[in-house]
């Protein structure tokens, strides 16, 4: 008759993976036999001859050992019902052994819980810190990103974006934007970025900056602006988003732990992969109010340093606050335009008075050159 094995027996002459055996308990001790009835007569070991311990990968098996030398045997009991039955049947002299085994299991499980609890707690705490917008962690992580990484990351998204758009390569509008960019960037002290500004054909009244110094100006903005100084104001604002690394900060905040781990581990490709996942969202990241204000304030200072009339920027905000908000998309998620204009007036009053130098282009001619371009939705 074949019986179902409920334990593994180890010892000299037995398979290394253990010989399956059928264990039964009685008042005399532990009896075992092979499941198919082969292997000779039943062997019964008195409780007094046994030593007991916890064993197995998770300390969840009861290990019974007896004998020495070639006759040494070890039984591994896994079945919980058999373990409970053994505890009930075993005489008092084995109580100390069983308590020691139970303590081993408790310690192993406690350690297991402690480690996992600690790890989960740490991850949750870290996630919460990021979720609640711990600027300290974000700033710390962003400060660890080399400029070259940032440029590569921005370039990847920039190329993806431009490949789907109509980019103006030449013409008065491109020349005008290049002149503004050149005058502004020339006044940035210790500029680590090689700014690249493209003019993209679109009715959208907007401009945006990507990490690493990649800026896109839409023709809709050029058509809407009343002067070159207004566009230069927007451009200065966008350049300062790059200089203050606002895009990187928003990206790390959005991607959270994965981005921080990539940065700490020095995994440039991983970070670029994550940024790619964000894709164009990176271009349209909503900056926080504090970041917008910082870009405004540093932007107007840069305009002043470049001797570009800073009131163009203020005028633009004033016009925005007056105009139909449904049609003007620029800064729609930003602080109220009127309040921004007031803040900028105060900032401008505190700056040294500099006489502005006019641009080398005629703004009317720039706008006229765009009149024939078909808006692309």
């Amino acid at each position: 008759m074949t019986l179902t094995p409920n334990a593994l027996c180890f010892g000299d002459g037995l398979p290394a993976a253990g010989a399956p055996c059928v264990v039964t308990l009685s008042a005399e001790g532990v009896s075992m036999r092979s499941p198919d009835g082969a292997g000779g007569a039943d062997e019964t070991v008195a409780f007094s001859a046994l030593s007991v311990a916890a064993g197995g990968l998770d300390h969840d098996q009861l290990v019974l050992s007896w004998g020495s030398g070639l006759s040494a045997r070890t039984l591994y009991l896994k079945d919980p019902a058999l373990i409970v039955a053994f505890r009930r049947t075993a005489p008092l002299e084995l109580t100390a052994h069983l308590e020691r085994a139970a303590e081993q299991v408790r310690r192993a499980r406690h350690g297991h819980r402690l480690w996992w609890g600690g790890a989960v707690g740490l991850v949750v705490a870290f996630g919460l810190l990021l979720w609640l917008g711990s600027d300290v962690i974000v700033e710390w992580a962003v400060a660890r990103i080399p400029i070259e990484w940032e440029q590569k990351l921005g370039e990847t998204v920039y190329r993806d974006f431009l490949s789907k758009e109509t980019v103006l390569k030449t013409g008065p509008a491109v020349g005008a934007v290049e002149e503004m960019t050149q005058r502004l960037t020339a006044k940035i002290p210790d500029n680590p970025y090689h700014f690249k500004v493209s003019v993209v054909q679109s009715p959208v009244v907007n401009a945006f900056a990507l990490p690493g110094g990649y800026v896109v100006v839409f023709t809709g903005l050029l058509k809407k602006a009343e002067s070159g100084e207004e566009v230069a104001g927007v451009l200065s604002h966008e350049l300062n988003h790059v200089l203050q690394r606002h895009g990187m900060e928003r990206m790390v905040k959005m991607l959270g732990l994965a981005a921080v781990v990539s940065i700490v581990a020095g995994d440039q490709q991983g970070l670029i992969g994550l940024a790619r996942q964000l894709g164009l969202e990176l271009a349209t990241l909503k900056f926080g109010r504090a970041q917008e204000t910082e870009a405004d304030v540093t932007g107007i200072k840069l305009l002043s340093d470049a001797r570009i009339a800073p009131d163009g920027m203020i005028r633009f905000f004033e016009r925005l606050s007056d105009s139909d908000k449904g049609r003007v998309e620029l800064f729609s998620s930003h602080p109220m335009s009127a309040a921004r204009a007031e803040r900028l007036k105060a900032e401008l009053a505190a700056l040294p008075q500099r006489s502005p130098e006019p641009f080398g282009f005629e703004w009317a001619a720039v706008q006229e050159s765009l009149a024939g371009t078909e808006p692309k939705q």
């Binding site: 290394a16 253990g18 399956p20 070890t74 591994y76």
Partner: protein, 227 residues
């Protein structure tokens, strides 16, 4: 179910004979050929949640193939993805094997496959991830290795040190700890071994003669990187 290893060595296949009505579950994509009496079904072993946890946690495939001799006895030829040996073992209901995630090739109907969470330190440092496969039940279990497979037999309390990247499977009666290969961290790292597993018997440990991670790193140098 009976099985026979064909072409032992680096590129083996296993021929599984099924009686009428018998089934074998195999890793998704493992079937090479089969008799016309064999029907192929895709099955989520352990139900949806079991399959999901296996996929999410241990990186194993979400579906297993179930090959059923539904229209008479027949045979199935199975092969692993990577070059390496195949090992067949019989489970008798009390043996349990822990298997690294790419080691499972096939198993009889009575073989049970679960994901098992390792202790934190083993999961973090062991190189197998936080979850491994726990295989128990009855019937034949077929594993595959990367390179040749080698069996280490351990007596009670006997110890053996294994580089964790070379692990294939080990019995649940063994215990192991993760430790540095050398006494100091620098020596451990510069020796190229880093962390190792110190196994303690009784039980058996199956190891593979090649390290998939190192092979991947070696082959990556020849792959052009697109910028």
């Amino acid at each position: 179910m009976k099985s026979e290893i064909l072409y032992p060595g680096a590129f083996p296949m296993v021929r599984v004979y099924l009686n009428d009505g018998e089934t074998v579950k195999a890793e998704s994509g493992a079937m090479v050929a089969a008799s016309p009496t064999i029907d192929i079904e895709s099955k989520m072993e352990g139900g949806f949640l079991g399959a999901l946890s296996r996929k999410m946690l241990s990186g194993e495939k979400f579906f297993f193939q179930t090959l059923r001799a539904g229209r008479g006895a027949g045979e199935v030829l199975l092969a692993p993805t990577v070059p390496g040996e195949i090992v067949v073992m019989d489970l008798d209901g009390v043996n349990e094997y822990m298997v690294q995630k790419d080691g499972f090739l096939a198993g009889a109907e009575g073989v049970k496959i679960e994901s098992k969470m390792q202790s934190f330190t083993r999961g973090l440092l062991g190189g197998e991830g936080f979850f491994i496969l726990k295989i128990s039940g009855t019937g034949q279990l077929i594993l595959n290795s990367f390179g040749a497979v080698h069996k280490i037999e351990l007596d009670p309390d006997e110890e053996y040190i294994v580089d964790n990247s070379h692990l294939v499977a080990w019995t649940a009666t063994t215990t192991y700890n993760i430790e540095k290969a050398s006494s100091g961290w620098i020596a451990s790292l510069t020796s190229g071994e880093g962390l190792v597993c110190r196994f303690r018997g009784p039980g058996v440990v199956y190891i593979q003669s090649r390290n998939p991670g190192s092979f991947g790193a070696w082959i990556r140098q020849f792959i052009p990187v697109s910028e």
